[in-house]
Amino acid sequence: MEVSRLRLLFLTAAAAAVLPGCAWIDRDRGGTPERVLAAEQLPEGSATVDRPVIEPQVERREIRRPRIDTEDFELGVYAGILSIEDFESNAVYGARLAYHLTEDFFLEAALGRSQAGRTSYEKLSGSAQLLSGSERDYTYYALSAGWNALPGEVFVGRNRAYNTAFYLVAGIGSTRFAGDDRFTVSGGFGYRVLPSDRIAVHIDVRDHVYDIDLLGKKKIVNNLEAHLGLSFFF
């Protein structure tokens, strides 16, 4: 044990000493020769050349950096129904943050919460409880990538058109349920309508898949979720 720790310490110290040194050497090599060359090539009467014949009377223009409002982020909330396998369907609500990389692709982080109901076994037996109160809390996060597969427009009446997109989403994350965290793969699709340029209304369907051995034997569960969301671009 001591040997490993010492070895690691030694490696850290060695790397800290050697690596910045390499970068420094490289920097020197690039800089010096040019300066020497410049000094050699200067003509003798250079002092007179520097002074311009006519002094230009130009006012320096004020340079403003363009401040264009970029709206690539999307933040919102959602509410819907989550069916937890063996544990009834319940209300789910959550928050999501999306970043639009291009017009076709986006990244999404979602955080949702629900509460599990009772299994059929618990209901039939009357008093048996599989999970305590706090173990029935269902919380998940998902990091996903999305593809705007079918962008388009919807027409409401004669004079209104709203931009829309049907998108596919897939990702990974974690679900905390029955006292444990479980690696979760999620995927689904959604439909987004933009009533104005910065507001989006979403209808989403997701499937959250993970392994659980709560009822004695390990099995894969599919928890389906459908929700309605509202988000703002900023």
Binding site: A15, A23, E71, V77, A95, T139, F183
Partner: protein
Amino acid sequence: MSRLFWLAGLLACFAIPAAQADDFRNVVIADPFIELHSGPGRGYPVFHVIERGREVVLIKRRTDWFQVRTDRGLEGWVPRAQMLATLEPDGQPLALQEPSRENYLKRRWQAGVMAGDFAGASLISAFGGYAFSDNLSIDVALSHIQGEFSNGYAATIGLMHVFVPEWRLSPYFTLGTGIIHVKPKSTLVRAVDRDDQIGYVGGGLQFYLTRRFMLRTEYRSNVIFTSRDDNEEVDEWKYLGFAFFF
């Protein structure tokens, strides 16, 4: 996790759009003409054309599309390729700052997410870094490890040395230390939580994708300094990571 949830909820409440400052920018069209699309995407129909010399107001940008307003009050979306040639009212070309290869070489901060395998368990890792020279940076990572018998969290800090930063695909070396918290699953009997120190040495590949985005893949050989007689050696593979720099 629940605290995190409330924090996110609170953030969502505050994100309701604040009133935008009305210092919109006027630009002059320099292309022979530009086409206004009804939405920020290549498929949206063109409903209006503005010819060279006319002035438009830049309202906002979404990905590679700009929303402009004409002097007649029409609003539409123009692709970046057509906006590149537009001019400021004083005749200067409009400086659209585009993150590019040059910015990649000068990057200081980066952040991203990686996914992989930690001794057979699934691993999700968020990382951030600060580069204090072209080659060398500090790398901080928070990992969520989810296995069949136990779950865990790890927080590490280390040095990362990119061998040839100017290459599009460059190998790097990394070395650091941190802490790991392991929590056996609640279905196991007589298991206790553990906090241990962890040290790692590893390497990986960094690939500049486009704009401000990078891909990363990494291997780490971890040593967990347990309170038992033996240290544990754990292989950690981060198959794929996505990062952006700024």
